[in-house]
């Protein structure tokens, strides 16, 4: 039932209302004619409605959530408590700098830590998610080329395995995304890369380990080819969890990186966001970083002024990006500490490879069987689909019935019937074993009783939803019954 269907005209929650006040002086021509459609419910009804709605979700706090490319690790509750401290949560963004030392200290430390783990010269924390980080990074590359008077560069090379935001961000920056294929072993096709590179090449975007879950072994060669062509290298940090504290993107030759703090640095996904997509740059690109940034000096911390960064690509948000998310990420970095970083990569990788091996033993096919997994890996259910007509999507839906969220399916696009599985380091061996057992059961069921799998899920609040209908007859806002007709 929708909150609007619980609503009754005139029902009020007096404790939350400041009381009547006069706005009669506002000119009639400016005033609203009819009340907006907002619910009128009691506080109990609202609390009960949203509390029971929450129970209709799977989440990391309640289920294993092996969603590839999303790094659904545990989100420490301390980070939430910390970000809600009144000195942070109630602070106005334009409150004077003199009162900001505590906040700035946290942000500055986060900049320092991220610079170190990425091997970049400088970090800007403002991008509000990975995709905005990508925009910022490409815009910086563009600004760099233009600043050098190099106006010919229009292409950004993007492997076919790339996440959709990569080509989309390229477009947002007015560049053209040029796709290159992946080899059978999961590495970039070097010949194709060479062919694609030239004076029109602004740069290359790469995720490493790639979205196929394998480490790009030729990364040094790739960097050489792109740099030789005058292009720049962009690191999509969505998969940093695999190499955190072990390998630095800067050392691989990347000029710009973005990080998804809501992945590697454990800030909650919140059912879709908010995230934070901090962006880092090598020395030559650092002057182009967006603003605001925090400077740390002997006397304390301060915001860098626009005058000090005349070549900055500018502002990305009205204020300072998603500060509450940044504070949570800061909390996490401080809780992990220096040694904790490396351990994340090691155990995320251990979990992924352990799970991959176990699933292979259970009868599933790895998309890149010869390769070590990074922190995630791709299975292909092509054979299953051919044998039983049970698809990757069917397996996903059936997993829900077994109490597991489903892996990412049908991404990357180049692997047919694929599942991208990322266990993260925060899951225990017992949980992984239970997942393998469930997958084994589903495999057996797919052969014995395929219709059962294809009809899943059965135990969720709803049965399988008609997505086609949703798109063909969009119903995107409730209307009161009378209006609806």
């Amino acid at each position: 039932m929708l909150i609007f269907e619980r609503s009754r005209p005139g029902r009020r929650n007096a404790a939350q209302q400041p009381g009547a006040a006069d706005a009669g002086d506002l000119p009639a021509a400016l005033r609203r004619a009819s009340r907006p459609l907002l619910p009128e419910v009691s506080e109990l009804d609202a609390v009960r409605h949203y509390t029971t709605l929450s129970q209709r979700n799977f989440s990391v706090d309640t289920q294993f959530y092996p969603l590839g490319s999303c790094t659904m690790k545990y989100n420490p509750r301390a980070a939430n408590a910390l970000a809600q401290l009144p000195g942070f949560a109630d602070r106005h963004p334009l409150a004077p700098a003199a009162t900001a030392q505590g906040l700035l200290a946290c942000l500055w430390e986060l900049q320092e830590i991220l610079a170190d783990v990425t091997g970049m010269a400088a970090i800007c924390l403002t991008p509000m998610a990975g995709a905005q980080g990508e925009f910022a990074g490409i815009a910086m590359m563009r600004a760099y080329h233009l600043a050098r008077g190099d106006h010919a560069r229009r292409d950004i090379i993007v492997p076919d395995a790339a996440h959709g935001t990569n080509p989309a961000s390229v477009g947002m920056c007015g560049y053209v995304a040029r796709e290159i294929p992946t080899g059978a072993d999961g590495d970039v096709d070097l010949a194709a890369l060479r062919a694609a590179c030239g004076p029109q090449t602004a740069g290359l975007m790469l995720t490493n380990p790639s979205t196929l879950g394998v480490f790009e072994r030729n990364i040094e060669a790739i960097a050489g080819i792109v740099h030789a062509a005058g292009g720049l290298l962009y690191y999509d940090g969505a998969n940093l969890n695999a190499i955190l504290g072990k390998v630095k993107p800067g050392d691989m030759g990347f000029d710009v990186v973005h990080l998804n703090l809501h992945k590697t640095f454990s800030t909650p996904h919140g059912g879709g966001g908010p995230g934070a997509g901090a962006v880092g740059a090598s020395a030559r690109l650092a002057p182009f970083l967006p603003l605001p940034q925090v400077a740390g000096e002997a006397g304390g911390y301060r915001w860098l002024s626009e005058a000090e960064r005349p070549r900055s690509i500018g502002r990305l948000s009205a204020f300072m990006g998603n500060v509450g998310v940044l504070l949570r990420a800061w909390a996490y970095t401080r809780l992990l500490g220096r040694d904790g970083m490396r351990r994340v990569a090691e155990h995320a990788t251990l979990n992924a490879n352990y799970l991959l091996h176990a699933l292979q033993r259970a009868g599933f096919d790895a998309a890149y069987p010869g390769r070590h997994a990074g922190h995630e890996f791709v299975l292909t259910l092509k054979r299953l689909k051919e044998e039983t007509d049970v698809s990757a999507m069917d397996v996903c839906k059936r997993l829900l019935d077994k109490g597991f969220y489903a892996p990412t399916a049908y991404f990357p696009l180049l692997v047919p019937e694929c599942l991208l599985i990322e266990p993260t380091e925060t899951e225990s061996r017992e949980t992984l074993d239970a997942f393998v057992a469930a997958m084994r059961e589903i495999l057996a069921e797919a052969h014995d009783e395929p219709e059962r799998v294809k009809g899943a899920p059965y135990t969720m609040p709803v049965r399988r939803l008609d997505e086609v209908r949703a798109a063909r007859e969009p119903d995107l806002a409730w209307r009161p019954p009378a209006q609806k007709a």
Binding site: N13, A21, R32, L38, Y50, Q55, S59, V60, T62, N75, P76, L82, L85, G87, F88, D90, R91, A95, G119, M128, Q132, G164, T165, A168, G171, A177, K246, K248, D251, H262, H269, G271, G272, P274, L316, V323, V325, A331, L336, G337, R338, G340, V344, T349, L350, Y354, H357, H372, K397, L400, T408, S428, R429, M460, V462, L465, A470, P474, L476, A477
Partner: protein
């Protein structure tokens, strides 16, 4: 090992299952020269107890002030229930609801919030959030550029738009060669200057952005503006504080045909100030523009048993399907803020939201009356305001603010850096959180401060 469950025995057994003996072997494909475990700038780990103590000390440095700052971020009462529910693990630690059947909670909340926002803006549909108000406006402009039939890439924007919003537009639009024509404001009213507008409108343009209220708190007269832009074949984008829309004519009802797109910052609906974010960008439009909308959208459909359920829909617009030709690159949005905002609006109810808006308005008028009773303090503009206004001071606002701070008051925003042409200008805001005593305290402090000469 913080947040890693593995015992040494676990690690050994897991490695053994792969015929390995050392985790390092799993990294064998990485060129050896790239391994670099030095992290000199990362401090050693704190435990939670140590971290919380450090954080409490740092948070306390923000101090405890009576705050009259607004300028795009507003202090409002947030019911305690909002965040106690929004931070429940099931909302807090879920991903984007791609597996709809296991995400009905989040999906229904999105659908409810879309309904609320569409109704507040008087438009047909809302998306499920963008990052913040400023970036939402940039997305709206790009959407208008895609929708517009002509080949102009020129957009008219008021100089009375929030300066940070103008800066964000510049950053986000420049790479796509979208030009911004800044229209001056009328120095008497603070509204868009009709003459400047007429001049700018003589060349083709894609869209007119109307900020309601604008950066000065001033209310534009959007009916005539909307009709004017539509007559020129341009789209109209309303950049509105959605709280103001509880009182004001919604963009969907501006002029003869209504604005085409409304967008802005929904932070006033249950989102803490939090030093600037995470906030909550919204974007609503007419049904016919749906396929050019950026961002996720939740929709209602039926399940295999014919029961209603919710799912993300129209994904063909989005980056993960359409890639380079997507309506935007946005993926992660501000989902949890949507959840909080929906709960907030449900808790306040139609009447509550209206009261918050009216009482913020009334408090601001009262503050203006008190402050302009002080010799030398006058209102900069004469047009009606919502809950913010610009004052002209007899001395530099910076110095005044500094001395007010010494009295425990954050007195507002100094406009000089953004609008030097306005002289000693101060932007003040008094929401429903302020009592009569607070307003009196501000007035007394300001009077005192102004009596002493500027330092």
């Amino acid at each position: 090992m913080p947040y890693i469950p593995h015992t040494p025995e676990d690690v050994a057994a897991m490695l053994a299952s792969m015929d390995l003996t050392d985790i390092g072997q799993l990294f064998a494909e990485i060129p050896a020269g790239l391994c670099n475990e030095a992290l000199a700038r990362v401090p050693a780990a704190l435990n939670e107890m140590q971290l919380m103590r450090l954080a409490r000390e740092r948070a306390a440095q923000s101090g405890d002030y009576l705050c009259f700052l607004g300028a795009g971020a507003y202090e409002h009462h947030i019911p305690a229930a909002v965040w106690q529910i929004a931070t429940r693990g099931e909302f807090y630690s879920a991903y984007t609801p791609y597996q709809a059947e296991a995400s009905q909670g989040t999906l229904q909340v999105l659908y409810e919030w879309q309904t609320m926002m569409a109704s507040l803006t008087g438009l047909d549909v809302s998306n499920a959030s963008l990052y913040d108000g400023a970036s939402a406006l940039a997305e709206a402009v790009l959407m208008a550029v895609r929708l517009h039939r002509g080949d102009s890439r020129r957009v008219l924007v008021s100089a009375g738009l929030h300066p940070h919003y103008r800066a964000v537009l510049a950053t986000l639009l420049a790479p796509q060669q979208v030009g911004l024509a800044e229209i001056g404001f009328d120095p008497a009213s603070g509204r868009l200057d009709p003459h400047a507008l007429e001049r700018a409108g003589s060349a083709p343009f894609v869209a007119l952005v109307i900020a309601q209220p604008n950066f000065f708190g001033v209310l534009e007269e959007p009916d005539a503006l909307t009709d004017w832009a539509h007559e020129k074949g341009a789209l109209v984008i309303g950049a509105c504080n959605p709280l103001a829309l509880a009182l004001l004519r919604p963009p969907g009802a501006w002029g003869r045909d209504g604005a085409d797109i409304a967008c802005g910052e929904a932070q006033p609906f249950g989102i803490p100030l939090c030093a600037g974010g995470p906030y909550l960008g919204y974007l609503c439009c007419r049904q016919e523009y749906l396929r050019q909308m950026p961002g996720r959208i939740a929709g209602r459909t039926l399940d295999a048993a014919g029961q209603p359920g919710y799912t993300l829909t129209l994904q063909a617009r989005e980056q993960h399907i359409r890639r380079a030709r997507a309506t935007s690159n946005i993926c992660t949005n501000q989902g949890l803020m949507v959840t909080a905002s929906a709960i907030h609006l449900a808790l306040l109810g139609a009447q509550g939201v209206e009261q918050v808006a009216a009482s913020s308005h009334a408090n601001t008028l009262r503050l203006l009356a008190l402050l302009t009773a002080i010799p030398g303090v006058t209102r900069m503009f004469d047009a009606p305001v919502f809950h913010e206004a610009v004052l002209r001071l007899p001395q530099s606002a910076a110095g005044v603010l500094e001395r007010l701070r010494g009295r425990g008051i954050l007195g507002g925003l100094e406009l000089c850096p953004h609008h030097p042409e306005l002289g000693h200008a101060l932007l003040v805001c008094a929401t429903e959180t302020k009592t009569e005593a607070d307003l009196q305290r501000y007035a007394a402090a300001l009077a005192e401060v102004l009596e002493t000469a500027p330092c």
